[in-house]
């Protein structure tokens, strides 16, 4: 309760400072938050009650973006966990894939857009591939780290009781790696918002928050661009809160066990 109050206090103070600074600076490039919020309202949230006050623009931009993000995140996270486990568990798989994955991980996706266009074509397929390709890495590396640093005695216990491959994985390795996996998933969450924006700069895109944002800048509609930025921030915050609720449930044992120190 107290921390919630504190958090809001910090937020309010910062927003007020922001308002004051932008008002003082009076730069077109840095509109005041009040201006931005007014713009957000006008652009997205002044619709009829029937659509939950969302405007057509909101339905046309925000929903497709969230859909892309969610699908890309789910796919990327799943791929990351599976590959990460394989890499963390099998030295052989690790050896074969390590070089290639480390190579792919460093590749700047904007340089590969042409290849994406050729391989996937325009639209959702390319966008999802792009998002997944970008967010898979934090999940993958952290999962591999988690799977590799399972307490040796836990593994020995599994071995002694001859637990099957699946049992080890599901009952021991995964739970034990989970705190680290979650660090990766949390990183990937905000990253998925970012690359969602990038994916909407890809050839052929005509809607989405990222599209709206870059379009706004190319026409120098700076309040609209800032509206996009703030919307991303708010979405990031909300998704993160949701994420933490899930994490607290899944990792309850972990948090409790860590609180041994009074």
């Amino acid at each position: 309760m107290r921390t919630t109050a504190l958090r809001w206090l910090v937020l309010v103070v910062l927003v007020l400072l922001w308002e004051a600074a932008t008002t003082l600076a009076a730069s077109t490039f840095f509109p005041a938050p009040s201006v931005i919020v007014a713009r957000m309202h006008a652009m997205w949230f002044s619709g009829p009650p029937g659509t939950l006050f969302l405007t057509d623009a909101a339905i046309g931009d925000i929903l497709p973006s969230l859909g892309r993000m969610a699908a890309g995140y789910a796919g990327g996270a799943l791929t990351g966990v599976l590959l990460g486990l394989a890499l963390g568990l099998s030295a052989r798989v690790y050896d074969y894939l390590d070089g290639v994955l480390q190579f792919l991980r460093a590749i700047p996706p904007p340089a590969l857009i042409t290849v994406f266009v050729v391989v996937f074509g325009f639209g959702l397929r390319m966008q999802l591939a792009f998002i997944m390709f970008s967010i898979v890495w934090p999940v993958l590396l952290n999962t591999a780290d988690g799977a590799r640093s399972v307490e040796p005695l836990h593994l020995q216990t599994c071995q002694v009781f001859r637990l099957s491959r699946g049992e080890r994985l599901m009952k021991v390795i995964l739970p034990s790696a989970l705190p680290k996996v979650f660090a990766g998933l949390r990183l990937a969450l905000s990253l998925s918002l970012i690359v969602m924006v990038f994916s909407e700069l890809l050839p052929g895109t005509t809607n989405g928050i990222g599209f709206q944002l870059t379009y706004a800048y190319s026409t120098f509609d700076l309040p609209a661009m800032w509206a996009g930025i703030v919307l991303l921030g708010v979405l990031g915050y909300l998704l993160n809160e949701l994420f933490l609720v899930v994490e607290r449930r899944v990792l309850a044992w972990h948090h409790a066990a860590q609180q041994l120190v009074g």
Partner: protein
Amino acid sequence: MLEIDNLSHVYGGGSPNAHHAIDGLNLSVAEGELLCIVGPSGCGKSTLLRSIAGLITPTGGEIKIAGNVVRQTPDNLAVVFQDYSRSLFPWMSVADNVALPLRRKNMDKSQRREAAHEALESVGLSGAARKYPFQLSGGMQQRVAIARALAYRPALMLMDEPFGSVDAQTREDLEDLVLKVRGHHQMTIVLITHDIDESVYVGDRVVVLSKAPANVVGDLKVDLPGPRDQITTREHSDFVHLRAEVGRLVRGHATV
């Protein structure tokens, strides 16, 4: 049942601070026997146990269980680790910890749960079934590890100082519990202990190891009459004699 032939193990072989833990050890354990191993701290007892369990590959010699050379963990084996607190899974309740290995035993969920509760009850922890390991005291955790091994009903049970963290009364009860279970279910047990009285009380045989590198310096058959009993057995003259004998062997090789 168990044949150990000229077993050696060197840790960090090749490096300048290689450690020779076991050197040419020979030992055999008969089916259904309860063998106690005593020996100075750091001599190589846990190393021996881990080799039998197939958790480490000894650098020399051979271990056979029921005639088969141990290359990986044999079937139907249970271990109570010395570092019991680390061998429990912190994300599972105590009951789940105990029930987990039973999945190998073709038991359905309710059977597993029942077996786990029974085992927990036998070590005096029926009240703690739904707690998590970190909510238990050291001695309670150790008993969970014992319950897990007992519930599994292995053919070969390896116990590494399994009663070190419990009070005297509980310890005696657990000793008797192990003896009882062994009698009912025809298990072979290798038990490491530092308590000389205990080794004589529960063991059919006591093997004394030398300080590192470990080797057998004494192998005593314990031939005490009748079913063991905490009071009468310990008063028996053979018991007192054997205890003194083991004590002498151990002390001849102390480390401090």
